[in-house]
């Protein structure tokens, strides 16, 4: 147990750094660059029951200190994830991985989670009820406490794996949604998913993203993410995984002071593929600088 170790729903992580779903694929691209076993864990590409190509291009737009994406849950579907990706992953990553799951009905969520229940290298299931990219999809679950509660109950009934519900920030009252998930039996909450954003191309005078709007992430959104993690930490008793705009070790410390027991890094991986490794390497220096002995001691310290 090093000074960076934290507990996530009863499983110890060597450190609190977790690449966020959708920015790390199944880890292979990064495994070519560094040994990804240095990570706490990582959350793999959002998986649905069926294979999905996702949204038309363009899917990406640049913003000040951030970006918009509208990938639309491109993924090979749960069958291929279990038959191809997980075995392949076992070879380069020897820790439990976080499975990220999306769906378009409570049944689909439940079915995908049930399929993952028997996979021994899946340590946690992160249930994305907030992806803003898919019409009629995840969005509605994450913005309504009743639906969020129903999804949580449905997946909890099908798996013994710890369930972490990933929340959308595009709501009036994030605490209300978090509480509904806790009541439904969630083992943890992760937040924030992307903010719904948009850019327009001045040359074509039309939205850059083919789907018009998309998920805004990157350094720009950090203050909103921090605020919501702070609020959710006060609202629930289950662990909170913080994410949204984290780009350096200082941001990790700040997010943990707000209440996060672990942190996901998203967009930063895309512009700096070594971001997670470098943050892990830099954390001891930052802890020293601010007089922190063990990182787990600061969780929620700002309250």
């Amino acid at each position: 147990m090093g000074r960076l170790s934290v507990d996530l729903c009863g499983k110890e992580l060597d450190n609190p750094i977790i690449p966020a779903s959708g920015t790390f694929g199944f880890g292979y691209e990064f495994a070519e660059l560094y040994d990804i076993n240095c990570l706490g864990t990582f959350s793999f590409k959002g998986t649905t029951r069926d294979m999905r190509f996702g949204n038309p291009l363009p899917r990406i737009a640049e913003c000040e200190s951030g970006m918009i994406n509208s990938v639309g849950l491109q993924n090979p579907g749960i069958d291929k994830v279990i038959s191809c990706e997980l075995p392949k992953l076992r070879r380069c990553f020897h820790k439990p991985v976080m499975a990220n799951v999306s769906g378009f009905s409570t049944d689909e969520y439940a079915e995908v989670c049930e399929r993952l229940d028997g996979e021994d290298n899946v340590g946690w299931i992160e249930v994305n009820i907030s992806c803003p990219n898919v019409h009629g999809g995840g969005m509605s679950f994450g913005t309504d406490p009743k639906m969020a509660n129903a999804v949580t109950k449905a997946v909890k009934a099908k798996t013994k794996k710890p369930i972490i519900i990933k929340l959308s920030p595009n709501v009036t009252d994030i605490s209300e949604i978090a509480k509904a998930c806790e009541e439904g039996g969630a083992d943890g909450i992760s937040l924030i998913n992307t903010l719904l954003g948009m850019r327009i191309d001045l040359k074509t005078k039309k939205p850059i993203i083919a789907n018009k709007m998309g998920g805004f992430s990157g350094k720009a959104i950090f203050p909103v993410a921090l605020r919501m993690v702070y609020q959710v930490y006060e609202a629930v008793k289950i662990p909170v995984v913080g994410m949204g705009g984290i780009s350096c070790a200082e941001n990790v410390v700040e997010m943990m002071l707000a209440g996060a027991c672990a942190c996901q890094i998203g967009a930063q991986n895309l512009v700096d593929p070594y971001a997670c490794r470098d943050i892990i390497d830099d954390l001891p220096r930052v802890l020293d600088k601010y007089g922190i002995k063990n990182i787990k001691d600061i969780i929620g310290g700002a309250h």
Partner: protein, 244 residues
Amino acid sequence: MKNCIFTVNENINIAKDVYKMTLSGDTSDIVFPGQFVNIALSGKFLRRPISVCDVNGNELTLIYKVVGGGTEQLSKMTGREKLDILSGLGNGYDINVPGKRMLLCGGGVGIPPLYLLAKRLIAAGAECICAFGFADKCDVFYTDEFKKLGCEVNIATVSGALGTKGFVTDIFPEEYDYVFTCGPEPMLKAVYKKSKTGGQFSFEARMGCGFGACMGCSCKTIAGAKRICKDGPVLKKEEILWED
């Protein structure tokens, strides 16, 4: 893929809004013609992908057009600047193709990656016939450099001010064994239609990461979804699936 710091040696304007930049750094991961680099720029969140024009030892040559704030920033560099670059991205062109007469078909800033390709093809004993398209005379660049490599160079301009008035498809040679092409999508489509041989087509897309992690630039192909940045930017003719 490698993440290294490159130093700008030279950055000169060679046509309207088009610049040639040479840099020094670790080019060891740039293996195939048609690969690209992804450049971090201060104040910009996303990197800027630029195709590799040439590589000689530790010297990298890039040719790019100013199309927005990022490339404008790049164009203002005067030398000695340090740039954080991800190099050796994308699959690049495969030169192990049948035949001897190679058609290199490029439009505007789609032409630069064909330079290293031509070098490699000629070194491998092939003949290169270039069909290059530009909008106007002021947009033309690098034709002499291709000639110096030993290429036959034919030019079309939309305005007709230089070469044949029209498009690259108007200056196709009578005979060729294979086509390599890079340029705007309408040109790629026209080349696809007109060419009767096998070929390799290099695509562009708005990218997120440039190395296959974000799925921001996926396209549908005969062989399933491919990431332009990682599984491309070069697709074989037989894989291509045009949408609408």
